[in-house]
Symmetry: C2
Subunit: 248 residues, 2 copies
């Protein structure tokens, strides 16, 4: 079996992404909400119709597209019409996923801007628009990677139980698929882990009485309400798009 698809390897990637997400959110939490950076055309219409965050994300994706970021099966852009790579194609190890164009980034961005930022940041405006937006780009890219890694999870689970998944896919039965791929024990472990990690990384270890820079409950909620459900939606979408005639 492809090493990338071993379920323990997939889980190691997801666990390591917890640090990336928590670190990025702690960085963002330095600054206030700064709502204006999420409003399209708030800065006089010079940002290609985008908000400040959207514009910096677009510019960042253009640069990264040139160096072929989005040719990797675990990366998904937020914007369309990006430039072609200027680097020659990299030969990835055999891509274990089936061809698909599943991209949940519109949802990821919507949830991030409307639900997550207001919980992570203090309300108000501190004028730190550029710094906040740079942090937002990191948070969005980390969350996108976490959510879309569901494709690898799903392919891994499918290959372990092709018959059960195959019949649910053939029947187009989303509920059956959700039941098959859900693992409440693992989900509970994820929440316990992000709770402990946020409490550890969010507090200055030097001054013991320091206030946490990021409430661990915010990260637990973010995982339980959005990250895990969106990841499972990606899994279902990927499985339903799967060609069941392909042997594993």
């Amino acid at each position: 079996m492809n090493e990338q698809l071993r379920l323990e390897n997939v889980r190691l990637v997801l666990m390591r992404l917890e640090e990336t997400i928590i670190f990025s959110l702690i960085e963002r939490a330095q600054f206030k909400h700064n709502d204006v950076i999420y409003k399209a055309d708030a800065f006089g219409g010079v940002l290609e119709g985008e908000s400040l965050v959207g514009f910096l994300l677009l510019e960042c994706e253009r640069s990264q597209a040139k160096v072929r970021r989005f040719t990797s099966p675990d990366e998904h852009p937020f914007h369309a019409d990006l430039p072609e790579p200027i680097l020659p194609p990299l030969r990835y190890e055999e891509n274990p996923l089936l061809p698909n164009d599943i991209n949940f980034n519109a949802r990821v961005r919507d949830v991030y801007e409307k639900e997550i930022v207001p919980r992570v940041c203090a309300g108000g405006d501190d004028g730190q628009y550029g710094s906040s937006s740079v942090c937002d780009v990191s948070c969005l890219q980390a969350l996108s990677r976490r959510v879309h890694y569901g494709k690898f999870v799903a392919e891994s689970k499918f290959r372990a139980r092709p018959r059960e998944y195959g019949s649910a896919i053939a029947a187009g039965d989303r509920d059956a698929l959700l039941g098959l791929l859900s693992d409440p024990v693992v989900e509970k472990e994820v929440l316990q882990r992000v709770d402990l990690k946020t409490r550890t990384y969010g507090r200055d270890p030097v001054s013991k009485e320091s206030v946490s820079r990021l409430e661990s409950q915010v990260v637990v909620d973010l995982y339980s309400r959005w990250v895990i459900p969106l990841n499972k939606e990606v899994q279902v979408a990927y499985l339903l798009s799967r060609d069941t005639t392909r042997t594993s």
Copy 2:
């Protein structure tokens, strides 16, 4: 006195930057050295004569220049000839620094690529060129901000003791300035703090027997050998460029 210049506020900024630097280095340490990303023209000369890291840094600075990052007195670009801002100028609170064009980023980049990356990362090549380069851009920008914040430190110290600094500046006496601005007790506290912070943030709190993702001694060395000395060099350069006839 300008609030931004109160020495305790300057030190709070520097302390908070320790998290930013340590988080960025932990992220970079996920990947191997990947030496090829630091070699200009390693990718066939399509990257404007830059290495992959240099190209992504240039592209990032171009985007950020458009949204006026480098009009802020605490931000310094690595590249020249960046685009003009497309946003209208932001009125910063009175910039407390004297006009100057001190920029140590060539040194920061050289030290980062030659000294820091080989200590932070395992040797070898894992093919994760894009991910490594994105982390490098974050590390470089955080280190640059830390080093150049010496300008605020120096202005703050000058205003507290204008006569002592004034005569050393008038005499062009670098050693006297270094003596005046150095504070061995504070420097020792910085090293103790980054040691404890790296040990706390670098280790997975869930599996107690886990290996640290980043050796704390590497960060202590990085601070004692480069961050603190370069910050002090910035302070000296800023003080020597200071117009001593200006009253504080």
